[in-house]
């Protein structure tokens, strides 16, 4: 089992690279074999990734969400599988190259720095912890997908405005579709982050005596959640539409990455109290 985990840990970034490269060939080069094989490659990679996470959980006897690098791998998996569902449902694979690049990046960083953690605090085996982290991860995956679609929307928006009818114009779905995809993920991010924060508030004080409400991760996530809430309210009230909401989704992703990076650099755990 250990050999399998170690081998797949090395192989997964390579698999994601091949998937991204194939999606790129299909999008930019219009290559027939790439169009035919890209989805099969993605399904194979996602399946392998699932087996890897399962094997990791069995081998180390804890869910693979105890370190930032384990979380990045789960996040890569969530992004890839969420995209796969979108592709199957919308029968459109044009945006895969852009989304899966993120999954590749997350998995690459994870594979490069992940360490085998045999002993984890008992606290990390709690159901509340699972719910808290699971909801947060789904929220982050939704933030990522929303941001990528938001970014594609902004690219296409500017190309159409500038009468630049190049490859992006020809191959991407229309603006309304991109906006709808981004906004759906945007709303999901708000809901999942809300659940993660709510569970965190209920569970953390019972578990950690030295819990701090000034924890930068906590503050950052609440601010992000509020920002998404403001975006949804503004859109529903008709104050914001199109471009503004898409800009917010891209900023949301930027803030998330910044917050994760800062916490990881300056603190040993995911929160400053853990």
């Amino acid at each position: 089992m250990g050999f399998f985990v170690d081998s797949v840990n090395i192989l997964l970034p390579a698999f994601y690279f091949v998937v991204v490269w194939t999606y790129g060939k299909a999008f930019f080069g219009d290559i027939v074999w790439a169009k035919v094989t890209k989805s099969h490659l993605l399904i194979s990679t996602v399946s392998l990734h699932f087996l890897y996470l399962l094997a990791r959980a069995i081998e180390f006897n804890h869910p693979p969400v105890t370190t930032i690098f384990e979380i990045l791998s789960v996040l890569a998996f969530c992004v890839a599988i969420a995209y796969l569902i979108i592709e199957i449902r919308s029968k459109s694979g044009e945006t895969g190259y852009f989304i899966l690049n993120i999954a590749f990046f997350f998995q690459f960083v994870s594979s490069a720095f992940i360490r085998d953690l045999l002993e984890v605090p008992e606290i990390l085996r709690s159901n509340f912890f699972g719910l808290h982290v699971g909801a947060a991860l789904l929220g982050y995956a939704a933030i990522t997908i929303s941001a990528v679609y938001g970014f594609l929307y902004l690219m296409l928006y500017h190309q159409i405005k500038a009468s630049n009818f190049g490859m992006i114009y020809a191959k991407l779905p229309n603006l309304e579709t991109l906006e709808r995809m981004s906004y759906t993920a945007f709303k999901m991010a708000f809901v999942f982050l809300g659940v993660a924060i709510f569970v965190g508030f209920l569970w953390l004080p019972q578990t950690f005596l030295d819990v701090s409400y000034s924890d930068p991760k906590l503050v950052g996530t609440i601010l992000l959640w509020l920002l998404y809430g403001i975006g949804i309210a503004a859109k529903r009230l008709g104050e914001w539409r199109g471009r503004k909401v898409m800009i917010l989704s891209v900023w949301g992703f930027g803030i998330t990455i910044f917050s994760m990076t800062v916490v990881n650099i300056f603190f040993s755990g995911f929160h400053n109290f853990y």
């Binding site: 296409l156 159409i160 405005k161 009468s163 009818f165 114009y169 020809a170 229309n174 603006l175 309304e176 579709t177 906006e179 709808r180 008709g238 539409r241 199109g242 471009r243 503004k244």
Partner: protein, 427 residues
């Protein structure tokens, strides 16, 4: 292959000549039997605003005479004075190649023209109705239709709008997801406005309004495209609920100004506002481009899109040419197999190989003294079975040439000789 093509097109003649040789469907229906009566040929033709094409196949060993065919064509339209060099005259493989190029859209005035395939199909249907299509021409047209379909499916020859009015609608589709949920307003009732309104209706736009200074013209266009009329004095009050505006009126000043649209845009709660200005002088203030979620296109930007699409289509021509060459080669191989002699040889070889294989497989079951006899007897059986079909194929019995080709083709298909392709089915 005694196949001939007589073509007059934008390559060979100006519009004033081409229009004199334009045939309606009824004219084609009555002209084709005349051709058969005079020249004893199978014939099919189609006529569009850019070309009139006549394909003829003769079972006669003597080659078809171009002049006789041309004379009948021009006499039918009282156009004897049209000079000979207005026509292209192609025979055999060149005629096949020409039809395949036409069907694939690379010979059209607008490269990748999507309508030509339907016109080729109509040409075949008219010939079938007139009873002049014949076996070989039917197969030829089916192969041409297959070539056209392959060109459209396997390349991008038909992609991208190549007219300003259609480019406007295509742009709208790049902004909006479902046009059937959108509302469009056409300001003006001129030719461009009409064309764009028709394209929008063709794309199932949800609601279509027309407004024009002359109410009668508005009503006329509205009736034509299934739209509602908004009085010209009131149309600005409706802009809050409009998603697409097409402006094409003759006006000295901007019909839609930037401050006016800025105010409307502020009040809008729905998605983007898409403005098409095809008026000369322009009807919409170009400053509205700066407004968020407002997209404005004028004739220049639409022409830019059209030119880019044309260039992309031209880049696809080599790929289409390869498809044409493949299909042409396949068709000529198929035709060359339709002669009786190679078919008889192929059939005899096939049956003999089956006989030989079975004899070799079972020969050890026989006494060594009988083995030569087994070989002889099986050969005799085969010869007797094949005798009548071979004689009929050689003599052609009482069949017409077209029927004979059909028989040979059916025979090749039944026995799987040369992997006979069912062109009819595929087309």
């Amino acid at each position: 292959m005694n196949l001939l093509c007589l073509s007059i097109s934008h390559h060979t003649a100006p519009l004033e000549v081409r229009e004199r040789l334009w045939f309606s469907a009824d004219e084609i229906r009555s002209f084709l039997p005349t051709l058969r009566e005079h020249l004893h040929i199978d014939a099919a033709m189609f006529s569009t605003c850019n070309r009139t094409e006549l394909y003829a196949f003769s079972s006669d060993e003597r080659p078809l005479e171009f002049d006789r065919l041309r004379n009948l064509l021009v006499e039918g339209k009282s156009a004897r004075d049209i000079p000979v060099d207005s026509f292209r005259f192609l025979t055999g493989v060149d005629a096949v190649d020409h039809l395949f190029r036409v069907a694939s859209g690379i010979d059209s005035l607008v490269i990748g023209d999507v309508q030509i395939l339907a016109q080729v199909k109509e040409g075949l249907l008219l010939a079938q109705e007139a009873g002049t299509s014949g076996f070989l021409l039917t197969k030829l047209f089916h192969a041409a239709l297959r070539t056209g379909k392959r060109a459209r499916h396997e390349t991008r020859i038909g992609e991208g709008a190549v007219s300003v009015s259609y480019a406007a609608v295509e742009l709208a589709e790049k902004i909006f997801d479902e046009l059937r949920e959108k509302t469009a307003l056409v300001i003006g009732a001129g030719e461009m406005a009409q064309l764009t309104a028709k394209h929008l209706r063709g794309k199932q736009i949800g609601t279509l309004h027309i407004t024009n200074r002359t109410p009668e013209r508005s009503k006329h266009l509205a009736a034509m495209v299934g739209a509602t009329v908004i009085p010209y004095e009131e149309f600005k009050n409706h802009l809050g609920g409009i998603d697409i505006v097409i402006a094409s009126v003759a006006a000295e000043e901007y019909v839609l100004t930037a401050p006016m649209l800025a105010e409307i845009n502020k009040r809008r709660t729905a998605g983007a506002l898409f403005l098409i200005d095809i008026g000369v002088p322009r009807n919409i203030d170009p400053a509205v481009r700066k407004l968020e979620n407002v997209f404005l296109y004028d004739l220049d930007s639409l022409n830019g899109l059209v030119h880019e699409n044309e260039a992309k289509r031209r880049n696809e021509v080599p790929r289409v040419t390869r498809i044409v060459a493949e299909e042409q080669s396949e068709f000529t191989v198929w035709v060359s197999g339709l002669h009786a002699t190679p078919t008889i040889a192929a059939l005899t070889d096939l049956i003999e190989s089956i006989r030989k294989e079975e004899v070799e497989k079972n020969i050890n079951r026989f006494d060594p003294r009988d083995r030569e006899l087994v070989d002889l007897v099986t050969k005799r059986i085969i010869n007797k079975i094949l005798h009548t079909p071979i004689v009929n194929l050689k003599n052609g019995s009482d069949e017409s040439h077209s029927e004979r080709l059909h028989t040979i083709s059916a025979l090749r298909k039944l026995f799987g000789i040369d992997g006979e392709k069912d062109a009819e089915h595929e087309a």
